[in-house]
């Protein structure tokens, strides 16, 4: 397999409702990524896009609908979808185009516009459930996260205060992100604990709300990096992905085994056998505050039930020993599902190339890991990147 580098990244604002069309959002992110790589569309061999269910936009064949904005016309183009995992998975799809030798430069563009769906995109999620077993009970998607959070808290004896610390950390980190929707420099643990209960134990400030946005990265082969003397690049050293059964009522939700399997696949490729020593920072998927903790354990960066202590001890702060979500994460920057690529893969690129500005981790970081999660609490994908 050939070495693959991320050589550029771009993203739009994340907002509850943006006035731009999906196509315009894609264009803005893609143009930004190409500009940061110093390339033009003519240099791009293939385009990969990622986006969540078509029903948010109310337009089927969404990948074709925003294709022009992705720069995909008259090129090999594909859209990938792995639920919430799309935010990291589309980069893996881009990676295999380059690693295989099929393409030298690939543009990856992710878009989400959830605000089109009125009055609330939640009603679209009703259609992901098993029609016979689950749907007669009229489930709300937040229920399953509440159930997973409750199981995780109860089995390990974790207090809500310790979970709320993640929301506080990430919303404060997001103050330094120019695209952030939900930054709050003054938020406290008490604010999270006193916020409205949605589906206990999930409260308003435990969750990242729907959002609009787009993000893009440019991937290139080692040969392109050398030939063009590209200095700002971060190497993709490992990729992994894994899915467990959709029959979620047959699984113990306390530990995301599928994330651990995806991580082991990525770590093996990246020659990482002691992740806690060899990984300098992480951007795990944090659509809920407890998910950052759950995923740190799945990524084998904390013992089972041990991630809350890392947060409480300040280890995961931007200036801690293992900075986690230095971008501000989904909790702080926003959650336009697939477009979270900008704060996951994008953040790894910016941190590893020293371009994260006010978000830059104050000590030197050489290796980062990012991960996304989706479908019915069953899908994990992991990317390891090196400076």
């Amino acid at each position: 397999m050939r070495k693959v580098a991320v050589i550029g990244a771009g993203m739009t604002l994340f907002r509850r409702r943006l006035q731009e069309t999906p196509k315009e959002l894609c264009y803005e992110a893609a143009r930004g990524a190409l500009d940061s790589a110093g390339l033009d569309l003519a240099d791009v061999d293939a385009v990969v896009s990622g986006s969540a269910p078509d029903a948010f936009d109310g337009v089927h064949m969404k990948g074709e609908y925003f294709l022009d904005g992705c720069g995909g016309t008259r090129k090999p183009y594909m859209r990938v979808f792995t639920g919430g995992g799309t935010g990291v998975f589309s980069t893996i799809a881009g990676w295999w185009h380059v690693a295989s030798g099929l393409a030298d430069v690939v543009l990856v563009v992710n878009e989400e516009k959830m605000s089109s769906c009125q009055p609330h995109p939640q009603s679209v999620f009703a259609h992901i459930w098993d029609p016979i077993l689950d749907r007669p009970l009229q489930p709300n998607l937040i229920w399953i996260f509440a159930m997973e959070m409750n199981r995780y808290m109860t089995v390990h004896g974790i207090k809500k205060e310790d979970i709320a610390r993640v929301a506080v950390k990430n919303k404060r980190n997001a103050v330094d992100h120019p695209c952030a929707q939900l930054a709050d420099p003054h938020i406290t643990v008490d604010d999270v604990l006193k916020s409205e209960v949605m589906a206990w134990p999930v409260q308003r400030l435990d969750i990242s709300p729907p959002s609009d946005g787009a993000a893009a990265v440019v991937l290139a082969s080692e040969d392109v990096v050398r030939r063009r003397r590209i200095k700002d690049r971060a190497w993709i050293s490992g990729v992994g992905w894994c899915i467990d059964s959709t029959m979620w009522t047959d699984r113990d939700l306390v530990f995301p085994e599928y994330v651990a399997r995806a991580a082991q696949m990525a770590y093996k490729m990246a020659k990482i056998d002691r992740p806690r020593k060899q990984i300098d920072f992480a951007e795990p998927y944090d659509p809920f505050d407890y998910k950052e903790l759950h995923h740190l354990e799945g990524l084998l960066l904390a013992d089972k039930g041990g991630a809350p202590k890392l947060t409480r001890d300040g280890v995961t702060e931007r200036d801690g020993d293992l900075p986690v979500c230095p971008s501000g994460g989904l909790m702080g920057v926003g959650n336009p599902i697939a477009a979270t690529m900008g704060i996951k893969v994008g953040e790894l690129f910016w941190q590893l190339t020293g371009q994260a500005g006010k978000r830059q981790i104050p000590h030197e970081v050489r290796t980062g890991v990012t991960q996304a999660w989706g479908d019915l609490m069953q899908y994990g994908c992991v990317v390891v990147m090196r400076a």
Partner: protein
């Protein structure tokens, strides 16, 4: 216009769905009408698979036999929801969660509602029993169980 602010299109597609229940779930729904829960066994991994399925997804071979499981079980996890299916707020919370059923392999169960308990009583590990709708009201649906209630002393 939506809320007087944005252009909105109302579109109600004429697309109704008639899902095939399949062999395993058809039998499962039929047994619900009889007030019973049914599973399938896999002789290779020796699991009692609930919900029932005609092939084992791990052994990747046909399952072997039908077996009834009990309508009692344990709350594996739950939520107290103040949101309905469309994320609208509701005053009286819905108690909902996963029940692992006695007689099935460990942690195998189903999502359902809980009743005859308050949000302060419910806890993980609580023993519960199905409350069935009267036979004439059963329709071959998971809603043939109204909810799960706490197991009383001397039961199960």
């Amino acid at each position: 216009m939506y809320g007087g602010k944005v252009t909105q299109t109302r579109f109600r597609p004429d697309a109704r769905y008639a899902w095939s229940a399949g062999e395993a779930m058809s039998r499962f729904l039929e047994e619900l009408q009889n007030g019973r829960l049914i599973a399938r066994t896999c002789a290779a991994c020796e699991r009692v698979l609930f919900p029932p399925r005609m092939f084992c997804e791990l052994c990747f071979r046909p399952t072997d036999a039908w077996t009834h499981v009990l309508d009692t079980g344990t709350i594996e996890t739950f939520s107290v929801s103040y949101l309905d299916t469309n994320a609208k707020r509701i005053a009286v919370p819905i108690l909902v969660g996963v029940v692992s059923l006695d007689g099935a392999s460990p942690r195998m169960g189903m999502m359902h509602y809980f009743g005859e308990m308050t949000k302060d009583d419910i806890r993980i590990g609580m023993r519960v029993k199905a409350v069935w709708r009267p036979p004439e009201e059963r329709r071959g649906s998971v809603l043939d169980i109204a909810y799960f209630r706490p197991l009383r002393e001397g039961e199960g």
